[in-house]
Amino acid sequence: MTDITPRINGARMNDYIGRTVRLICKVTKVVGNTALVEATDGATIEVAMTPGTPTIEDYAEIVGTVVTDSKIKMMTCINMGQELDMTLANDLVELIHGPQKEIKEMFF
């Protein structure tokens, strides 16, 4: 269902290949139309940006399609500012994907 775009981290990329997801990340490097970002669990992900996307700095939420377990094709991105507790964000991702049924029902 395309309306559901789960938040993931590096470890879960593999489970969502071909699907649209949300990746909260820290931008480490931008070269042309490709950005290298760090996901909430520290994994490095390559982001293919659409030309003309305003440069994202620091923290962002990338909404895009997972191409491989380390590459994502951006559809849109939302600026998350200059300060973000990545451990907290990762805890949220892990909670959402955890085994508890009640939580699964809220998000998927």
Partner: protein, 259 residues
């Protein structure tokens, strides 16, 4: 954090610690943080009936979502919201007096996250949110906070307060929301035995974990086994069951902590 009068880390006006039907009705006056999926999953018996989410009545809700689209009409603003769990339309009815200093669209534009509060409505077979208030989210931590709060409140409705259901006094004993696990382990268990549905091993594990102040790091499965004097394989199996039931969570490889 943006100025936000409602969900400041606890749910106001609700009765917890009891699961009687009257409790569920009283909650219609409180503000419930939700995911859009939960809104879409809510049902209404007929046009004027209350909205139900599972066993609970919901009335005023709050959500934090990505603003996908904004449509400014003369009498209303229509926002398309998505929070990763679903999409919903939110309508804010305005007239000359509500415009105020917020200007067109309440300061909310596409490509940002917004905090919205309102009530669920249905038009035909399409649900939408009747907006009471909508404003931009300025601190990204509000997004993370909102989801944790929604999970917390939902779990509280289905399982009762953390640290002992029904009878150990004020369930809201200044519990800091959002991550300090040791706050729960200090609550007085008293005579309330919410482990009555668990077997002996589960109970021993829960009591041991509760008594540990690990600061969120958890305890290794072997250490749990030694402490309660049970075979590590049995402990491992029991822990798996407890994790699935949501009473225990895994903090790192083979380390566990109580909820």
């Amino acid at each position: 954090m943006s100025q936000h009068d409602f969900a400041g880390g606890y749910v106001q006006g609700s009765q917890f610690g009891e699961n009687s039907p009257s409790t569920k009705k009283a909650t219609s006056h409180s503000l419930r943080p939700v995911t859009i999926k939960q809104l879409l999953a809510s049902t209404q018996a007929h046009g004027d009936a209350e909205w139900m989410l599972g066993d609970c009545e919901i009335n005023h809700v709050t959500a934090v979502a990505h603003v996908l689209n904004v449509l400014v009409n003369p009498t209303n603003h229509v926002f398309e919201l998505g929070d990763g769990t679903g999409r919903i339309e939110a309508r804010h009815w305005v007239d000359a007096s509500t415009e105020g200093d917020e200007g067109q669209g309440d300061g909310v534009t596409e490509h940002m996250y917004a905090r919205v509060t309102g009530t669920l409505k249905q038009f035909g077979n399409k649900k939408y949110l009747n907006v009471a208030h909508i404003q931009p989210v300025n601190d990204p931590h509000e997004i993370i906070f909102h989801f944790f709060e929604a999970v917390y409140v939902t779990m509280e409705y289905s399982r009762g307060s953390p640290g002992g259901g029904g009878g150990t006094g004020d369930p809201m004993q200044g519990v800091t929301f959002g991550g300090n696990q040791s706050a729960y382990s200090h609550q007085n268990q008293g005579s309330g035995d919410q482990y009555s549905h668990m077997n002996e091993t589960e109970r021993k594990i829960m009591q041991f974990l509760r008594g540990q102040d690990t600061g969120g790091d958890g305890i290794h499965v072997a250490a749990i086994g030694r402490a309660i004097k049970e075979d590590p394989a049995v402990v491992s199996d029991t822990l798996e069951k407890l994790v699935e039931g949501g009473d225990v969570f895994i903090t790192s490889d083979n380390h566990f902590a109580a909820i």
